[in-house]
Amino acid sequence: MLSSPVWRDCSRIYFTAGLVAGGLAISALAVVLGSLVRPVMPPALGAGLIAAVAVFVLAGECGLHRVRLPHRRAQVPSTVIAAGGQAGALRFGFEMGSGVRTHMPSNLPYLPLMVVLLVSTWPTALVAGLGFGLGRAAMALGRHYSGDGGWWDGQWQRHERLLRITLTMAAVLLTAVITFR
């Protein structure tokens, strides 16, 4: 992906904008769906469900199980990139940012999704969606601006388990703060 035409010159800006737009779109969808659930769900049940997902995700990242929640088991189709320079980059970013039609090597995105579904408001959901898109962009931009993609990949692969556990623990802590404050 990162060596594709999407990642060249000004297409980078469109790709990043697409990532952010995708994150915002999926969070908007989640908050709308959540508005159907939140009024009829006791707060304690919502908090319990979020806690259960947090434990499940953390256990998975720690290697205690290998269950993967539903996701597409392939990258965004290359036909999306073939759609054209800036439009293709924007759409490719959108699909990656929404997380709906792309491979997800971690269950962690299900945690903010549950939090947005069950305890968010419009402003908080959009901020989380913005963060999700920026987080995906940070990975791609970081790799690009490191000046050495091979080094970046090596660092990620060498420390992947530790990095995933660190990021998951941070997300679980933030979830606890948001849910139980």
Binding site: Q75, M96, M104, G129, A138, A140
Partner: protein, 50 residues
């Protein structure tokens, strides 16, 4: 030197450590930072999909 600085600012270990540090700082913050960081950490954790 420039390459070292680039790596220090963009490496996955450094960025993940910064996110963890920001998480601790966000514990006593208002509502924006925790929600933003929740999205950021989840998005960044998908780095392996690149």
């Amino acid at each position: 030197m420039t390459q070292l600085l680039r790596r220090a600012a963009t490496g996955p270990v450094q960025v993940s450590a910064a996110l963890a540090a920001l998480t601790v700082a966000a514990l006593g913050a208002g509502w924006v930072l925790p929600w933003l960081l929740l999205g950021l950490t989840a998005g960044y954790a998908l780095s392996g999909s690149a």
